[in-house]
């Protein structure tokens, strides 16, 4: 009993101490405005250096982050849609379009963004209706082992070659690039996004020779490392990770064209502190931030006035030739067909 009393007494002291110190520190530091941003959380140290710290300096506003993958963060936004605490959300386009349809994000007044007109055309309104602005771009190409594959791969069609049978991995249909895979397979064999039948047929034929359908780029990296896979379609942002394996790999921009994906930044419907939200978006699109993130291979820029040295450009979706080769998808159409295509993929291909 004596011991318990001492413990309770100590606990009270500690609580009292913590309480006073919190109040004190709140009193000492000047009250700063805050804005909450929902984003992935990759490369957070670089994001903090190039975005968070410079934003506090320029706008005297602190950034709070809500981190997680697209699906988790979208679920949190749905749950808090009545009284959102987050002002800005960064999403992959397929998830952004979902957020738009569910009324979770609102149109952006682009006249409030100083940097808006300096963006590439395709980054200005990728979701249509100004629901989001593109802040980075990544292409969808093919990577292969140059030591194992004798005849260079130059096109999507090459993935069906006999010498690659059992050595190819494709993304799973539920990934960001899943539906684009169906579209590119269709284009390779004479169809297109509106006529995907030939793509489904060809993918069904290829299916037996596919090692596995990867769900994450990290999974693909280990498939290459283990010698399981020699060739696979890959999103550009995973290229750096693949190069780190020190395997002899080559990046191919396929003859059929590369799909360009634009990650978007949007304002939450009924968000608190929209002034800071606009400040943040403008900051994210500014030449300084876009250049700094490109130089550290975090994000490929969406404005043409960012200059990157040649050896770094190789790891980004960058440069006139590469940008001109990009094909941009109609995400509204993709969301319309998504559930049918996923079902059809599960029935005909992933069996």
């Amino acid at each position: 009993m004596q011991k318990l009393a001492t413990f309770v007494k100590r606990a009270c002291y500690v609580t009292a101490f913590l309480a006073t110190s919190t109040v004190m520190s709140a009193a000492i530091s000047p009250a700063r405005a805050q804005v909450a941003i929902s984003t992935w959380g990759f490369n957070m140290d670089l994001i903090n250096e190039h975005i968070t710290d410079t934003f506090v300096e320029q706008f005297n506003t602190e950034i709070l982050y809500d981190l997680g993958n697209n699906a988790d963060r979208l679920t949190r936004l749905q749950l808090r849609s009545d009284s959102p605490e987050i002002s800005v959300v960064e999403l992959a386009p397929t998830f952004a379009i979902r957020a738009m349809r569910e009324g979770l994000i609102e149109p952006i007044d682009t006249s409030r963004l100083e940097n808006y007109n300096t963006l590439y055309d395709w980054a200005q309104d990728p979701l249509t209706g100004n629901y989001g602005v593109g802040f980075t771009v990544y292409s969808y190409g093919i990577v292969y082992r140059t030591d194992m594959v004798d005849e260079p791969i130059t096109s999507w069609q090459d993935l069906w070659r006999d010498d690659l049978a059992g050595r190819v991995s494709l993304p799973n249909v539920t990934t960001t690039q899943g539906l684009a895979t169906i579209i590119m397979a269709s284009r390779a064999w004479g169809g297109d996004a509106e006529n995907p039948d030939v793509g489904f047929e060809q993918l069904a034929e290829l299916s037996d020779d596919v090692v596995t359908f990867y769900a994450r780029s990290s999974e693909l990296v280990s498939l290459f490392q283990q010698g399981e896979v020699w060739a696979a379609p890959v999103l550009r942002f995973a290229w750096g990770q693949l190069l780190d394996t020190d395997l002899p790999l080559a990046w191919v921009a396929p003859e059929e064209g590369s799909v360009g994906f634009v990650n978007t930044i949007s304002i939450i419907s009924g968000a608190p502190n929209t002034d800071s939200a606009y400040d943040y978006i403008d900051h994210r699109l500014s030449q300084d931030v876009q250049t700094a993130l490109a130089l550290d291979i975090v994000d490929s820029p969406v404005r043409s006035d960012v200059t990157v040295p040649a050896e770094l450009a190789e790891q980004l979706t960058y440069g006139e030739a590469e940008i001109d080769n990009l094909i941009f998808l109609d995400y509204n159409y993709l969301l319309d067909v998504e559930s049918d295509w996923i079902e059809r993929w599960n029935e005909e291909i992933a069996r």
Partner: protein, 274 residues
């Protein structure tokens, strides 16, 4: 037992009700409602999709095979362990428990090293002049991985069941003229049936609900119910579809437990006398 002793159950019950019974009931109820009205739709959707049916039958097939294999391998081993000297028994039981103490991700990754294209088996094959074969991302790989994962859960109850059989039961049966086969079927099996039932239940339900092993060794093309559930919930944000998978998993384990008890109940009557 004094009456106040009942109050000791309250904390544990409260935790179970709050953290288990309540969410599970809510989950179950929510699977019947879409936009506020009662519907079977998510269940008929599940049944009409051939991908879900494939995942369901693959789950039941793999769980059954792994359970049978665990019995075939675990039963003789458990018998042997229960009959050796105490010192060795402690060492061997520790070895049985060891896989349970390693992280499931690490344990599963060790199979990648063995079964991979440049893994132990394929290197051996190519050294012998044969073609390398694809072993990973097959049902075979999933069965081997799950067997490795769950065989301790079969062996531990069996070892304790065998240890509880008095040493002189087998000699007694022999002295009364029982053949080796009769001793096995009418003495050993009835006396260890409780251990077998527990082991089979743990292994089967473990296989149905395991996620890491099927995800890594089977990949997204050999979907089991657990990996299908993950796909529905976290990539498609289809919560009602995911709930249906969870309910189906739960129902499958309940049915399996009943079947296991029935099947093994046949052997239950001691010494084959009813």
């Amino acid at each position: 037992m004094p009456r106040w002793a009942w109050s000791l159950v309250i904390p544990a019950t409260a935790v179970l009700v709050l953290a288990f019974v309540l969410p599970l009931s809510l989950l179950f109820a929510s699977s019947f409602f879409a936009e506020g009205s009662f519907t079977w739709a998510s269940y008929t959707d599940f049944l009409s999709s051939s991908a879900s049916r494939r995942a369901y039958f693959r789950t039941v097939r793999i769980a059954t095979l792994v359970t049978l294999a665990a019995i075939a391998l675990g039963y003789p081993a458990a018998y042997a362990i229960s009959r050796i000297t105490m010192r060795w028994r402690v060492v061997l039981i520790a070895l049985v428990i060891l896989p349970l103490m390693t992280n499931p991700v690490a344990r599963t990754f060790s199979w990648l090293v063995i079964l991979g294209r440049e893994g132990l088996i394929n290197n051996l094959l190519t050294a012998l002049g044969a073609q390398s074969v694809r072993l990973l991302y097959t049902e075979g790989a999933m069965i081997v991985g799950l067997l490795h994962l769950f065989i301790p859960l079969m062996m531990l109850p069996l070892i304790s069941a065998f240890e509880n059989i008095p040493q002189d039961v087998v000699p007694a049966a022999q002295s009364l003229g029982a053949s080796q086969a009769q001793i096995f079927v009418r003495v050993l099996i009835p006396l260890t049936i409780e251990g077998l039932t527990i082991g089979a239940t743990l292994v089967f339900t473990g296989c149905v609900t395991a996620y890491v092993t099927p995800a890594i060794l089977g990949g997204s093309r050999r979907l089991m119910l657990s990996t299908l559930l993950h796909q529905r919930a976290s990539t498609m944000l289809d919560w009602s579809g995911a709930t249906v998978v969870a309910v189906v998993m739960f129902a499958t384990t309940l049915v399996a437990i009943t079947i296991i008890r029935r099947v093994f109940g046949v052997f239950r009557s001691p010494l084959g006398l009813s």
